[in-house]
Symmetry: C2
Subunit: 305 residues, 2 copies
């Protein structure tokens, strides 16, 4: 799968970072998904090879403006592009009234089907090629994390082996791929299981919403990738006048170690980290406590899993 | 006054143009005003010397998304900047419910006063240094044009003349500026009127919303500047499958001539005009019918009046 960070700033856009949004596309798929959709996400999409036309699902972690104010423009632009495929939006309770209100007062006459699903609890959403686990998080308002668990994919079919054995190409190969028994005209019998490698394990990706307790993902040990907010370093957080329900780089790294995640990406960066040096403070703090691969996300950063 | 175009595209953002917004600042003022506020207007502001902090009034022509979806982010960011000065929003009916709904569901706890004024008719709004005439337009939904009429400003005070006459600097100059009679200690008498030039005529600027009839501004002959949509050329408009309630470049130029406006700026450009050559078609069409100064707006274009 491919992941692209479309917005990595907390709360407010800066010259370097837009507010939250993340694009995800599974291998060999045309359609793709958004996780959060801050204002100007459609503008960010314009700078990538993604299109609103092929966007099929949006998962919203929580209803703060920096995670949702881009939804309305996405709907309007999909409409103007005469897209007719449905769009599904998954978000905490309130999203339906909010979208209906904006659609009504801005006279948005949608030509495509908008399917809105309100998340109200810890749950599992099943799709054709993956599942999404919804994880209630700890924030100032209702916030969910989404854990994407990709279905296992069939093992590799050994074409060369079939060719070497003189099995004629065509429908028989499809049967072998499907692990069926095949009988050739010359009487030879082959078992598809001998031509197909072990299944490829589906990837597991944790995508956190705003949250001050990354251990809430404890059911997903050993995830391939954890993408989670760390709005501040511990030092800056300790000096804040007011406490915010956000995670620090230190807390996140300790949790990532405890969960045994294979890779960690820090996002939702406070605008105070406005230089490479400042960003590096977040990274260095995390590296003290988590020894796996760790990065601080930036806008348009791509990850292939 | 200074005008800056923050978004000049119709309906949908493109790589060259954002959706509608226009900033206006009167001479010697710190505060400034917005006319329309499409999505990502705050992102455009980041690229100028304007600030959300000093934004005091927003005038919305109509409630289509490409003119309003940036409002919510402006409110959230003004809030995050801990700005406490009030913000006034003038817009057609519906804006109040819309904003209240977005504020409620996105848990936006405003620290500053938001004053919402719904425009329901042809009217005149009086401010300290200018008036705004609200002009009902012709579009698919309720749409207003705004005509800003700046108050006349006092004439120039001739400091040199006062100095040459040996009038001591200080409070007496203020009195003369104020056109009062001044008696010096040596008995000489001066009339302020002899030191102050003729008043500077306030500028008149027509700012159109979406509209298919620019002659609706007929009460404002000889305006210093008319900024108005011309979404299409006449030729393209005539070939559209569906008719839209928009103005063509030809129609606008004919109206500008009839109204006797001194300058014309065309904005709200359809995304189909995606190259300099295509934009030039709009300009050349207008020039056939209007012989004054005419320009096609682009993002970040500045005008000083």
């Amino acid at each position: 799968m491919q992941i692209i960070f479309l917005g990595t700033s907390a709360g407010i856009p800066t010259k370097r970072r837009n507010v939250s949004a993340l694009g995800l596309r599974l291998e060999n798929e045309k359609e793709w998904y958004l996780f959060d959709c801050g204002e100007a996400t459609q503008h960010q999409i314009l700078k990538t090879d993604l299109s609103i036309y092929n966007l099929s699902k949006i998962f919203i972690t929580h209803l703060h403006g920096d995670h949702i104010y881009g939804l309305f423009g996405i709907l309007a632009s999909k409409n103007m592009q005469r897209a007719i495929s449905p769009l599904e939006i998954y978000a905490p309770k309130g999203i339906k009234e909010l979208l209906e209100c904006v659609i009504k007062y801005s006279n948005l006459n949608l030509h495509f089907e908008l399917k809105i699903f309100e998340i109200t609890k810890k749950d599992v959403l099943k799709f054709e090629k993956f599942k999404i686990y919804t994880i209630p998080l700890s924030h100032s308002i209702t916030s969910y994390g989404y854990v994407l668990v990709e279905n296992d994919r069939p093992g590799r079919f050994d074409v060369q082996k079939a060719k070497n054995l003189g099995i004629p190409e065509g429908p028989l190969y499809a049967k072998l791929k499907n692990k069926e028994i095949v009988i050739l005209e010359d009487g030879r019998v082959f078992d598809g299981n001998d031509f197909v490698g072990p299944p490829k394990k589906g990837k597991v990706v944790i995508i956190g919403g705003d949250n001050d307790n990354p251990l809430l993902f404890k059911d997903f040990n050993n995830a391939d990738l954890m993408i989670h907010e760390a709005t501040f370093t511990q030092k800056d957080f300790d000096n804040l006048e007011k406490s915010y329900k956000h995670t620090t780089s230190k807390q996140l790294a300790i949790a990532a170690k405890e969960l045994g995640v294979k890779k960690l990406i820090i996002t939702h960066i406070s605008p105070r980290y406005d230089s490479d040096e400042r960003v590096n403070e977040l990274l260095e703090e995390a590296k003290k406590y988590y020894k796996g691969e760790v990065k601080v996300a930036y806008d348009f950063m791509k990850v292939v899993l």
